[in-house]
């Protein structure tokens, strides 16, 4: 039951050691830097120190209450992250699979649209461009 913000990479296996004891279902989501154009060098992620940790903890606790989770974890990186590397992860543990799936899906929708992170794409030529928010991320959040 914890949220962390860090620049360092994380290791899914380390995060899951001892995670969700007594649960019947564990779901993880990992977001990676994807290069759709073949010209991306990295993402640079800015965040709002102080508010970020608070928001992630609030969303984790809300998911735990709503879906009856045995355990949850959120790790989100900031700073420069190279193509192909993990950006963030969410893990949820519940007695049954439906709750674990829905809680992870719910947390991702909150993180995408309500956690204070901003992504900037850094091209292989060094050019930087802020990533625009997607309308369908808002639509996805409205499901809950």
């Amino acid at each position: 039951m914890s949220a962390r913000v860090q620049t360092a990479p994380f290791d899914l296996a380390t995060e899951l050691a001892g995670f969700g004891a007594g649960a019947g279902a564990v779901v993880t989501f990992t977001g990676l830097v994807r290069d759709d154009t073949g010209s991306l060098a990295a993402l640079e992620i800015e965040h709002y120190p102080g508010m970020t940790e608070r928001a992630l903890t609030d969303y984790g606790q809300a998911a735990a209450a709503r879906f009856g989770l045995c355990d949850w974890r959120i790790v989100h990186r900031h700073g420069r992250i190279a193509t192909g590397q993990p950006i963030m992860m969410v893990a949820t543990a519940a007695r049954h699979r439906r709750a674990a799936f829905e809680a992870a899906d719910y947390l991702m929708d909150w993180l995408k649209s309500r956690a204070p992170f901003w992504k900037r794409e850094i091209g292989q030529d060094g050019a930087a461009r802020w990533v625009a928010a997607k309308t369908d991320d808002e639509d996805s959040l409205a499901r809950w």
């Binding site: 956690a115 204070p116 901003w118 928010a133």
Partner: protein, 83 residues
């Protein structure tokens, strides 16, 4: 009252600095935006698209028209793109 103003991402770039301390009697974030936008061309550019403006009052996401109260810090930024 004295308020610490924070800017993030493209807004920070347009304003030209990440934070500033202002004195204001604004009653809502929207009132505060009107005061801040008058400070410089960079500020005006930062607040040009109000539909793409998000706001947190004392680190809680807040509607632009909510009562401002007596906040310690108010942050302005574009729509978030985490995850």
């Amino acid at each position: 009252m004295t308020i610490e103003i924070l800017y993030f991402a493209a807004l920070r770039e347009r304003v030209g600095h990440p934070r500033e301390t202002v004195t204001s009697d604004a009653r809502t974030p929207r009132d505060l935006v009107a005061e801040l936008a008058a400070r410089s061309d960079g500020h005006a550019a930062a607040f040009a698209d109000m539909a793409a403006l998000r706001c947190a009052v004392d680190q809680q996401l807040t509607d632009l028209d909510a009562p401002l109260g007596q906040p310690r810090e108010v942050a302005f930024f574009p729509p978030m793109t985490g995850g």
